[in-house]
């Protein structure tokens, strides 16, 4: 009968899908939205050489990365910061790349450098005009990042600020938005990922990265450790790690991964 044969076909399809799924091994990685695109790209490259391996990547924030790794909901957790002491008791962490944050201003802005206390004053609204820090007589347009973003958290942590203390003129979501805003406004100051800023500056966009504490904001300075506003991009797991997940992590920390890391504007780890 028609119904029976249709049912039979459906059952066959379902079984064959299930069987192909069984033949595949899946590695699940969840966590930081900063690390996720990097791991996604690394996974694509890795999967090419390992036909029946699938690496699933999901975002949800560094906190989710830690939680899922702890509860074994995932094989690997993606975390855009160092592990906290209580987390490090259970989890093992491997750094696969570095990310730095640069303060950017428009190229037409004459300011050469800002001290940490000047930056704090600008972002908390104590200093509102560029002339107070040695520039022209123009009100400062302060650009901040939206809450929840790890870039914001790193910025707050480095300058020891609380979110409520920041008095921003504009709030942006991602790096390209921040770069466009600064490129189009001579009075703007913002902070974005170093790699993204370097890329736009090399493309001819009128943005300039400010040195921090005398150290120029370049990717090589992040790598050699002299630039301080940086964070590690980590993969965390509950030891021991074996099998395809282990192989993937080894791949991610090898020199083969460097071109992929750089293509996403991050900084490869120093070796």
């Amino acid at each position: 009968m028609r119904i029976r044969s249709r049912l039979a076909i459906l059952v066959c399809i379902a079984l064959s899908l299930k069987l192909t799924a069984l033949a595949e091994t899946t590695v699940v990685a969840t966590g930081s939205s900063t690390v996720a695109p990097l791991v996604s790209e690394l996974a694509q490259s890795f999967e090419k050489k390992h036909e029946d391996l699938r690496i699933e990547v999901e975002m949800g924030g560094s906190s989710r990365g830690v939680a899922d790794a702890r509860n074994k909901k995932s094989d690997l957790g993606l975390v855009s910061r160092a592990l906290k002491p209580d987390e490090a008791k259970e989890l093992q962490s491997v750094t696969i790349a570095l990310d730095g944050i640069a303060l950017i201003v428009n190229s037409a802005n004459q300011i050469k450098e800002l001290t940490a206390s000047q930056i704090v004053d600008i972002y908390t609204g104590k200093v509102t005009n560029w002339k107070e820090v040695g520039g022209s007589d123009i009100p400062i347009v302060v650009v901040n990042k939206a809450q929840g973003r790890s870039t914001l958290e790193l910025f707050l942590e480095h300058f020891k600020l609380k979110p409520e203390q920041i008095k921003a003129s504009a709030v942006i979501g991602d790096n390209p938005q921040g770069l466009k805003l600064v490129a189009g406004n001579i009075a703007a100051i913002a902070y974005v990922s170093i790699g993204a800023a370097e890329f736009e500056a090399n493309r001819g966009q009128p943005v300039r990265m400010l040195p921090l504490e005398g150290v120029p904001a370049t990717r090589s300075n992040v790598q050699n450790g002299t630039y301080s506003l940086k964070r590690p991009l980590n993969v965390v797991y509950l030891p021991p790690l074996s099998g395809p997940a282990r192989e993937f992590v080894d791949f991610a920390t090898s020199t083969l991964a460097d071109p992929i890391v750089e293509s996403l504007y991050f900084v490869p780890i120093a070796r």
């Binding site: 939206a146 003129s169 709030v171 979501g173």
Partner: protein, 261 residues
């Protein structure tokens, strides 16, 4: 559809039970703050309303003028051409309009008064977004007016303008109300274009040049990173948006009934 709305309410539930009136009375929006956080939606609700209402008020006369021009003042070929142009304009994705906003509109507004990313930029971008659909709806209403009316008007020595002003447009109140309410609902929900140009600082705007954050932009900016109560509060703001849109549509219906004679 009901399942989707039901899901929204379900996810928003914790925010309504734990926060209740604080969603309105809290002065600021710092949901991730250490000390229990603040969840004031008021500045954003107001910003959404200001931006959307202003955009509709500005776009309406333009839309009526454009539709009248296409229907009554231009030849068949020209009218057709402009009609197609409007349809194409309506197909431009909001991200592209946002790009135009951030590269052209924001620097221009900035030269008037920093920071450029402001309520004014949001309004201008919203006008660009809702204008095509508005024109299409008003035009559809005008097309139902028979061309014989034009001939009869000429016979009575009536100008096209008088005809429009005293006869046709008053009769079109229902269509115009429909166009306005639909565009208002669309403007309130518009996310991508607005988040790129509005500045996104959570504050009640004291001037049109102040940076503002509208409700859908808030959801877009923070949802990827929100957990727990913060997440529930974002869903709650989505529920608030739906309620506002429903209220607008209800008002629109009421108004269009009155317009009937």
């Amino acid at each position: 559809m009901f399942a989707a709305v039901g899901f929204l309410f379900l996810e928003a539930f914790p925010a309504f039970t734990e926060l209740r009136a604080r969603l309105w009375s809290d002065a600021t929006w710092f949901p991730t703050s250490d000390q229990s956080g603040s969840f004031g939606l008021a500045p954003m609700v107001l910003a959404s309303l200001y931006a959307a209402l202003s955009a509709v008020l500005i776009a309406l006369p333009i839309a009526v003028a454009a539709a009248s021009f296409i229907r009554f003042y231009s030849s068949a070929i020209t009218g057709n051409f402009f009609s197609r142009m409007v349809e194409i304009a309506g197909a431009i994705p909001s991200v592209l309009i946002g790009l135009i906003g951030i590269t052209v509109i924001v620097p221009q507004v900035n030269s008037l008064s920093p920071p450029g990313a402001s309520l004014l930029s949001a309004i201008l971008v919203l006008v660009l977004m809702i204008l095509p659909t508005m024109i299409v709806i008003v035009l559809a209403g005008l097309e139902r007016v028979s061309s014989e009316l034009l001939t009869a008007a000429a016979a009575c020595n009536l100008t096209r303008f008088s005809l429009l002003r005293y006869l046709i447009l008053p009769q079109q109140i229902r269509t115009i109300a429909l166009a306005s309410t639909l565009s208002l609902a669309r403007a309130i929900g518009e996310t991508m274009a607005v988040v790129m140009v509005a500045g996104n600082v959570v504050q009640i705007p004291k001037s049109i040049f102040n940076s503002v954050r509208v409700l859908p932009a808030n959801i877009a900016l923070e949802m990827p990173y929100a957990l727990g109560l913060h997440r529930a509060a974002l869903f709650a703001s989505g529920v608030v948006m739906i309620l506002v849109v429903v209220a607008i549509l209800a008002l629109g219906h009421m108004f269009s009934f009155r317009g009937q004679r």
